[in-house]
């Protein structure tokens, strides 16, 4: 009896302390505008509001008809909340949007890149949780369209002047067209990939400041020089973990694989390539980087924040020499970005990623991009479409791509001096000449997770052969035995 009393007392004591801690934490959070806890809440509130409205409309107009309609926009928040480019952009549009009967509300999902797509898929399944507009990465757009989550927009885009008069670069429309030939979104940015490098560090190590590697060996030997001359600096950073999701597949593996001349998927036969010399070469590059310790410590690169750690901390702080990543990382360094760094224009260089042995076309890049789509379960589809037309007109698209450091998909923005004067936009757009796209197949997202597993296993010590065999086995299971080919 005594014991019981004692423990209920001590338990309540500890509980109280924990609660106190929790409260004081909250207090701390609200002070921090960009704190993760806050943004998570914003997302939840947004959804609740959305669901509430849905109920209101269903119950049949007993409310006053003049009540504002809320258009919710869901996008990925990587933890910086109200400091995020997307948030600021939406809030600005919302303020200036001419139709005052509509309220525009950001309802971000705070998640790692990999989790975002699962959360989106779950949200789109139900009328209660689907937003009115969702930002879709073009790699998963086809899958979500096949699942019936997205509204085909053909009628709408064909009646929109900007779409039909050539303002959108024709090639970029491919990214939002699913395998059924229908358009499921309006693209708002694209990107290219290459080797970012720190010219100051290159100079210190005696490497050329105007670096133009011609083969993978050039890249590796530059990394080795850095390691030798500047032992405290990480020579080369590539995303290599499962936690960085699509970034590992696209920025690292596919940049390497496509550089060997090999592809993921054979368009002519409609088959996935599960074994090839190209796969082995790409994995061997990853293996070499890790074996010779030319890469970042694995404890830093195998978590979901790896990309941000590299571009927001290591690169600006001069702790990293080369980063294989996307054209958008400079968005971080703008005054409005997550890690302002005014000197980036002079310190950074952006070299094209060479093909493995320098074979034609000499360099390689992959292009992706994001689009605004309307979910099939959205409550206000017409209003959402009107807003998309406004949000992705020339002026507003330009604001977004400049703030985010992305490449535009509109030819009129591409010619605008305000856009071309941004550092690196010229080069990044130039790289797009040789750009390759990911297979527009609805199995791609699943295959992509197998790629991430394969790359991480090589990074942690599995041999390229063993990793490829496992990949072949897993991909065969996903796409079916009739849809694979070994080379």
């Amino acid at each position: 009896m005594k014991g019981k009393k004692l423990f209920s007392m001590s338990a309540s004591l500890v509980l109280c302390t924990t609660l106190l801690f929790a409260c004081s934490n909250n207090g701390g959070n609200s002070g921090n505008a960009g704190n993760s806890g806050d943004t998570g809440n914003t997302g939840n509130k947004g959804n609740a509001v959305n669901a509430g409205n849905a109920g209101g409309t269903d119950s049949g107009g007993t409310e006053t008809p003049t009540e504002k309609k809320t258009i919710t926009i869901t996008y990925r928040d990587d933890g910086i909340g109200e400091q995020g480019v997307m948030y600021k952009w939406i809030m600005e549009l919302s303020k200036n949007y001419p139709d005052k009967s509509v309220e525009i509300k950001p309802t971000p999902i705070q998640a790692s890149e990999g989790d975002y797509f699962a959360k989106i898929a779950l949200a789109l399944k139900s009328k209660d949780t689907a937003p009115d507009i969702v930002t879709e990465d073009t790699f998963i757009l086809n899958s979500d369209a096949s699942a019936g989550y997205l509204e085909p927009l053909d009628d709408k885009v064909n009646a929109w002047e900007d779409w039909t008069n050539g303002s959108f670069i024709e090639a970029m429309k491919k990214g939002v067209t699913a395998s059924d030939g229908k358009v499921y979104g309006v693209p708002y940015n694209t990107d290219s990939r290459g080797l970012w490098y720190n010219k100051n560090l290159f100079k210190q190590a005696g490497l050329p400041e105007d670096w133009q590697p011609k083969t993978w060996d050039d890249v590796l030997s530059a990394a080795r020089t850095i390691k030798e001359k500047l032992p405290d600096v990480v020579p080369i950073w590539m995303n290599m973990g499962k936690a960085t999701g699509e970034a590992t597949s696209m920025q690292t593996y596919e940049m390497l694989l496509y550089g060997t001349g090999e592809r993921l998927y054979e368009d002519a036969s409609g088959k996935w390539i599960t074994k090839s010399q190209g796969i082995l070469d790409a994995l061997t590059f990853v293996e070499t980087v890790n074996k010779e310790k030319l890469g970042p410590p694995l404890s830093k690169v195998l978590n979901g924040q790896a990309g941000n750690t590299a571009s927001r901390e290591y690169l600006p702080q001069g702790k990293l020499a080369i980063q294989l990543d996307g054209s958008w990382i400079t968005g971080n360094y703008l005054e409005s970005g997550a890690a302002p760094w005014p000197e980036y224009k002079d310190v950074l260089g952006f070299a094209p990623m060479p093909t493995s042995k320098g074979q034609a076309p000499g360099s390689i890049t992959l292009a992706g991009g994001w689009a605004l789509s309307i979910p099939s379960n959205a409550q206000h589809k017409e209003e959402a479409w009107e807003f998309i037309k406004y949000a992705l007109n020339k002026e507003n698209t330009q604001k977004l791509v400049i703030a985010a450091g992305n490449i535009t998909v509109r030819s009129d923005v591409a010619k605008d001096p305000g856009y071309t004067e941004m550092p690196f936009n010229g080069i990044a757009t130039e790289y797009l000449q040789n750009a390759e796209f990911r297979p527009a197949q609805d199995k791609y997202p699943e295959v992509s997770t197998q790629i991430q597993t394969m790359v991480e296993s090589v990074a942690t010590g599995t041999s390229p052969e063993a990793a490829m065999n496992k990949y072949a086995q897993d991909v065969t299971r996903i796409v079916g035995e009739g849809n694979i080919v070994e080379k």
Partner: protein, 296 residues
Amino acid sequence: MSSLTAGSIHKKRKSWTWLYFLLPSIAIMLVFFIYPILLTVFYSFTNLALTGEAAKELKFVGIDNYTRMFEDPTVRVSIWNTLIFLIGSAVIGQQVLGFLIALLMKHKNRWFRRVIGTIVLAGWVTPEIVCALCLYSFFSDEGTLNAIITSLGFTEVTWLFTVPMLTVILANIWHGTAFSMLVFQAALDDVPSEIEEAAVVDGATKWQILTRITIPYIKETITTNMMLVTLQTLGVFGLIYAMTGGGPGTSTTTLPIFMYNQAFVNYQLGYGTAISLLLLFIGIILSLFYIRSMKE
């Protein structure tokens, strides 16, 4: 005659009343327990997916998910990891440590018991995710442990990377030991002091008292506690997911993590449900084993 009728009515009413009382709990069990399990069994035979064409059309795929599970080498790795995690953190860690703490606290003064009890309980009342974050920052590269080590002049160790399984096992021990401690404290308080005193008079050593009297006396509590802790540990997800995400590689991928990855990272809900049934099956086997050993 009349008394007989009255009696049978009474009997009848009595035979129905138990049902009235049980109905709410049966209903709750059906809706929240039996129905989801049946649904899980059903989905494990389908190609249910989060996105892609399979998300639109649910197809029956027979035992595909199960054959796939037995062919998948990661499943074997996950089962192995689950067992290491279970034995390390539940059987050896929580059970033995919980028992030791309870034993050492027996017959000690009130303040000692109160202070130690509170400290151990702190790990238990801390929500799982908070606990995971605390221990993550303790073991992380720039964490407390490395700060202590480097200040003593040793080089840093990337704990979460070089010994990931050990860190999650220690985290789970820290989080869960209080439960075993409470159970054992209650049990030890029930061991009659007369028997122990008699043993002392007979000249038994402390070790003999422990192994010949105390442990046999609380044998049933040990088995029950073992079962509860095992089942709790089998389902641990948040702690491992937040600390290591199942990595690096697959070195801390236990079955719950593997299940999550298949269902929500690879979007294969059908396969995920099949793995969850494997987990349920392992839980049932272990429970049967414990229940059996309790009867002996």
